[in-house]
Symmetry: C2
Subunit: 134 residues, 2 copies
Amino acid sequence: MTMTIGELGKATGTKVETVRYYERIGLLPAPPRTGGNYRSYAAAELGRLSFIRRARDLGFSLDQVRALLSLSDDRARDCATVDALARDHLAEVERKIADLQALRRELAAIIASCGGGTVADCRIIEALGPGRVA
Amino acid sequence: MTMTIGELGKATGTKVETVRYYERIGLLPAPPRTGGNYRSYAAAELGRLSFIRRARDLGFSLDQVRALLSLSDDRARDCATVDALARDHLAEVERKIADLQALRRELAAIIASCGGGTVADCRIIEALGPGRVA
DNA sequence: ATGCACCCTGTAGTCCCTACAGGGTCAAGG
DNA sequence: CCTTGACCCTGTAGGGACTACAGGGTGCAT
């Protein structure tokens, strides 16, 4: 039930160097080592690393990822703190969803108009333009 | 109807240095200069820069942003190319929306359980964990 | 005419990886 | 057994995307 750093990387789409980097900066715990000094990961690290990678892909900084992980790590924290942190992130998540939905609409429109043979009415910039409350 | 780099930055939430950086790497066109050698931006750049910033915030690389902008810039491109590019990006956008919706669900659950006084059932990592088709 | 806020061009630093270099581990095949 | 190849180790250096000065010019308002 344990795996090497290469297996962990493959399972999460992460380069081996990146896994070691996350360990160095304290985002992943240092795993136990084998007799040959190889890192030996348990299944729990797979979930944690997967979360980190996807949150990064969604545009969250490592500091934000750290904060999100702390929601899961720090069971000891008082509820008011957890609640405020979660609310902040929820607002940001909802803003991102709205932006992505606008982008999706414009991409779909481009695909549709291409099917119709015209490229004229491309409003993709307007999808994420300044014309809404930032 | 023109603005300084500082006004453009303020309107789009971009640091002045970042605007100049985008110009240097060719993401923004070099604007005309005033007599005093100040950059003088037209309204169109506001939309373009706003698009860049929001796409970056959604986790797209500058190369991807360049590709998205080309959908709007290159009216000359043939439809098949534009269509393929748009379809690729649409798929990625939809994946991101799904991930963000999963994250939203878990954040909402945390907030709800905090209201109820418990922090015990935090599944935030599972929201973006490996348990789905990547 | 003199601040003061803003602009200019550099260059160097930060954050987040990513790619070697130089070397050790280990299971498989000869 | 011993070698070979795929993997692992610890560095350190490079790249992408900003960000922060330093040193200097512009322009309006007092």
